[in-house]
Symmetry: C2
C-alpha cells in the first residue's frame, strides 16, 4: 500500500498537526457543505474555522487545509 | 465514536481536499522531520511542499495544514 508522507519540522504547529493527523487515521469524518448548510456557519466559526476547507478533529483542533475561501466570504 | 467534521464550501480546493481526506481514512502515514532529515527537503519541494506541516497524499496532492514554517526557512 502506498503511504502518505507527513512533512514537518518539529515546530509546535507541526507537532500538533502530526498528533491530530495520526489520530485521524481510522477515524470517520462528517462532511458539511457550508454553502448549502449556511445555518452551520456560526457553529464552524465558534470552533475556530477561519477558512475552508478545514477539518475540526475529535479533540477540537482546527486543521486549515490549503485555502479555498474565507468564512467571511461565505456569509456575503 | 466522536467524528471529525470536514467543513467546506464546494469550491474546487474544497472538493480536492475532501476527496483526499476521505481517502486518507484508513491509510497509513510516514512521518518525515525535515529539520533532522534535511537531505529530504528537496524531495519535499519537488512534490510541491511550500511550508510545514504538510501532507503529501498517495495520489500526490499536497495538503498544507495550518502554518508552521516555510521550506525556505528550513534551508537557512
Amino acid at each position: 500500500m502506498k503511504k502518505s508522507i507527513f512533512y514537518h519540522a518539529g515546530c509546535p504547529v507541526c507537532n500538533e498537526a502530526e498528533k491530530e493527523i495520526t489520530t485521524l487515521i481510522n477515524e470517520q469524518v462528517e462532511l458539511v457543505h457550508l454553502g448549502e448548510e449556511s445555518n452551520r456557519i456560526m457553529e464552524a466559526e465558534r470552533q475556530g474555522v477561519k477558512s475552508v476547507p478545514a477539518l475540526v478533529t475529535p479533540s477540537g483542533s482546527v486543521l486549515h487545509i490549503n485555502y479555498g475561501a474565507s468564512i467571511a466570504d461565505l456569509k456575503a
